[in-house]
Symmetry: C2
Subunit: 358 residues, 2 copies
């Protein structure tokens, strides 16, 4: 009794023909519109029977063409999605986005931004993202012009991470780097540290700006004046050698270091090397804490003192906000900041009194 393999999928018209009714009636029965309860029971049964016999399934494209929405959320990252050496950095975001997207009843459209550059948001003047109802954005190498264009087009999107755009309000879910860094400074001060070196990335991105703000805020709260020479740009995290640290502790009286982790594993590699070199020991010779999560984290590596971004949470929240935006197309931009969590670790300790007796 199995029907012969069809070339073409059965449509509502096929069902209508078979059941001797109109296509509109079929639609009403199968999709339960507002007036679907007016359908006579006998008719309903006939339609359902015909549908079952033909193995009908609705054509999503047609439905969403009619309805305007296709129940897809996009995820676009401004770098390759799955670079192996950054997997641990991105994975929680992906996980959170995927999870919440599914929970909201959407499917996830992954836009790839390969290095060749021809997979940007706008290719040939066409916005690829619009394939989705809305989009979550992610990544550091943001092309601001494209962001601005997205805002101009009124396309619904939410950035994971705080992003500011002059003259435009955009929605984002950020992490509270300021408070987290400030708290870390407070903790170091409590342990007796007064001269804290802050190693920042050269690039002037929002996270870095926030960390610096937190650094200043933490010192201010402790009544310590900022020594600008202790804010140092570290271009390559690999430079963080024992000699480098020794230089600062020796000549500048530094007793603690705050350093921004890189997305790759250069920093942790350097730290591990320094840590095992035995000429410089954390926290005995110098305390050190990371202003964020090191990537490629494994339980076996040393448990560095740090704060940790609520990545999965940020991602989930971003999706929720996006769905909100879709329901309220003309609402204002939503901006949320989530707190980071402090990870005590074992790389900070009381300040040694000897070098810089205050």
């Amino acid at each position: 009794m199995v029907p012969p393999p069809r070339q073409r999928r059965a449509t509502q018209v096929d069902i209508a023909r078979r059941a001797g009714v109109s296509q509109a009636t079929v639609s009403l029965v199968l999709s339960g519109g507002a007036v679907s309860d007016q359908i006579a029971e006998s008719t309903r049964q006939a339609v359902l029977a015909a549908a079952a016999e033909l193995g009908y399934s609705v054509n999503i494209a047609a439905r969403s063409l009619k309805g305007g929405r296709n129940h897809l959320l996009g995820l676009y990252t401004f770098e390759p999605v799955f670079p192996t050496d950054q997997r641990d950095f991105y994975f929680p975001f992906l996980m959170g986005v995927e999870e919440e997207t599914a929970r909201q009843g959407y499917d996830l459209l992954l836009f790839s931004s390969v290095s060749s550059g021809d997979r940007a948001i706008y290719t040939g003047g066409v916005n690829r993202l619009k394939l989705a109802d809305g989009c979550v954005l992610l990544g550091r190498n943001v092309r601001r012009e494209e962001l601005a264009e997205l805002v101009r087009e009124d396309f619904p999107f939410v950035f994971i991470g705080r992003r500011e755009l002059p003259g435009a309000e955009l929605s984002y879910v950020g992490a509270d780097y300021v408070t987290a860094t400030s708290d870390l400074v407070a903790e170091l001060v409590r342990l007796g540290h007064r001269r804290i070196l802050y190693l920042r990335e050269p690039a002037d991105t929002e996270p870095t700006r926030d960390r610096e703000a937190g650094y200043r805020q933490g010192l201010a709260a402790a009544g310590i004046e900022v020594d600008e020479s202790l804010i140092h740009e570290l271009a390559d995290p690999a430079d963080l050698s024992p000699a480098f640290v020794g230089h600062w502790t020796g000549t500048a009286g530094v007793t603690a270091i705050l350093v921004e982790p890189s997305e790759d594993n250069r920093l942790t590699t350097a730290l591990d090397a320094t840590s095992t070199a035995a000429t410089m020991r954390f926290p005995d010779d110098c305390s050190i804490a990371l202003l964020g999560d090191p990537p490629s984290w494994t339980p076996e590596l040393r448990d560095w003192t740090r704060f940790s971004l609520p990545r999965a949470d940020m991602a989930r929240t971003a999706v929720q906000i996006l769905v909100d935006l879709l329901g309220d197309p003309h609402g204002a931009a939503r901006q949320v900041t989530l707190p980071c969590s402090f990870v005590p670790g074992d790389s900070i300790g009381p300040a040694p009194d000897r070098r810089w007796p205050r």
Copy 2:
């Protein structure tokens, strides 16, 4: 000069009006049909300019309703995509699929199959996958009925991992478990082992069947008769305790073990515990090798002897095959098997002569 925010997304009709041409011309310019090279350069530029100004992007639903391609490949997994404890298992697949999809000029549509079960391929008789041109499938908890229905509908898809379906040919990219297992047996035999315990999963899945076949093939090649009592079903990998191993080495003369890794980290956790218990040492007291990759692999864990699936390769190949299928809709199913790679590790060694002097 900024246009007022639009309610409605720009369509080809809007562009046509603005550029002073017809919708058909817009379609030809933007979608590059067969006769698209007949379009005058000036017209083309006008259309592209108008499209850019209006922030046009194609409506996927309309395009795919029309029957054209929408340049989306789907990825459907029969389990949650990003379960934390299985991340290392799935990540290489995702990475490979994403990479090759981008290279082929497609975007990736991630279908999620959350545990609640309402995100199956067919929900309410509707095949969700059809939003994509074709689909890569992945996962162990395969719902065979759904697979059969996909084949029946003639929907283009490729499974990562060998899957057999009675009465239907489907495309897949599998790993050569048979040869890999057989080679592992040969290596153990070369080291003097004669009684090799094979711990298999109870479920009768293709990978497990292949491993068992490889086990038998390896022994046959070495001229060793299979002792059926040495093929043992291990329901919970956590049961692999020192006492358990001791039992087999003591009472059954086993000198080597082949065990199927679980997707979670139960097996490696158990092995680590056993390994550090000091009452049982690998490979001194017993050799052991894994028939596949342990998940959550980190360099710090012990380097178990094993073979490794070419996961990223499998994924990339699957995408290539899928694209092939799309170009040749009525071609036969493609079935590819890729070789595994042997990872020497340090958990096998020469067989001890003492227990079972042969």
